[in-house]
């Protein structure tokens, strides 16, 4: 099982260029990374990274024993697009992370292709990270939970960021999960009308 995971991580697009950079012996002044020349009669042969013999990750022996396996999986399993989301918007300690109370608009591959709503909770579980949006559609409350690393998730647009400043932005929300919005139709209708206004 660990070798299958290793094979999958080695096929990741970002993996080989990083190895190529570490193996490069070019001087710091050259902009492109030239690899050690194995082509005779040529000084600076630029060999494409795909021709490099694959080196396993430095601590493969540890990973095969199971040490650091989950950290390795969490780093390599998500796609690059999902990884960027996990590192910024859905990262527990990033300054630009999405706070509950933000209004998001999500575009997906399957129906419904567009869903907007207020973020009522984020579940931080590495590759299993998910978030829930709530909106009122035709007088019925609808909540949808999306998986961040799903390839069906095409785009996330932040319509309104929940800030901590106060004043026009409003007071900081003091909860991580806004399930109390299910019992407050007044607040939800205000949110849903503002969403409809921004979409028009």
């Amino acid at each position: 099982m660990a070798t299958a995971l290793l094979n999958r991580s080695l096929r990741r697009p970002g993996f080989l260029p990083s190895i190529a950079r570490t193996l490069s012996t070019a001087s710091a002044s050259t902009s492109s990374a030239t690899l050690p020349s194995t082509v005779p009669f040529v000084q600076n042969a630029i060999i494409s990274p795909s021709a490099v013999v694959l080196q396993p990750p430095p601590r493969m022996d540890r990973i095969l024993k199971g040490k650091g396996l989950m950290a390795h999986i969490n780093q390599t399993l998500p796609s690059p697009q999902a990884k960027s989301l996990l590192d910024t918007l859905f990262n527990r300690s990033h300054p630009d992370r999405l706070l509950p109370g933000s209004v998001l608009s999500v575009t997906t591959q399957h129906a419904p292709t567009n869903f907007s709503g207020v973020l009522i909770g984020v579940r931080y579980k590495g590759p299993d990270t998910s978030f829930t949006l709530r909106n009122i559609i035709q007088r019925t409350g609808v909540e949808m939970t999306f998986m961040v690393c799903s390839p069906a998730l095409k785009d996330i647009k932040v319509v309104h960021r929940a800030g901590g400043g106060g004043g026009r932005q409003g007071r900081r929300i003091r909860r991580a999960k806004l399930f109390y919005l299910r019992d407050q139709p007044a607040k939800m209708t205000a949110i849903s009308t503002s969403i409809k206004r921004t979409q028009r």
């Binding site: 129906a111 998910s130 007088r139 019925t140 909540e143 939970t145 998986m147 799903s150």
Partner: protein, 133 residues
Amino acid sequence: MLGLKATMTIIDNSGALLAECVNVLKRKTGHGLATVGDEIVVVVQKARPVSAVASQSATALKIRRGDVRRAVVVRTKKEVIRPDGRKIRFDDNAAVLINTKKELLATRINGVVSADLRMKGWGKIASIAPKVM
């Protein structure tokens, strides 16, 4: 997750307003709970008064309180998981009335329905609905 004694709103224009589940059909599992797209047998608990024209006609649809009818669940408060891991949850339970031949009794549906209806084979209901999520 609608079983015996579960109440739901009827969101079509058949005349029924509120219904109570009595039986879940064709569910091979033992717990007998219905989710979106399942056929159930309901008892109408609340209905709009039958109009004078309809009460005289023999063929018009007459839904009265106490009628035992079949219905299809279109919205559930319990979240339904889609194949890619997404979940959808509504604020109430809702159904539409059908006959034994799986045809809609009413002509219009008002309100949101779940897109899982299409996956379960109720494309006709999903196409009539004003909003499919």
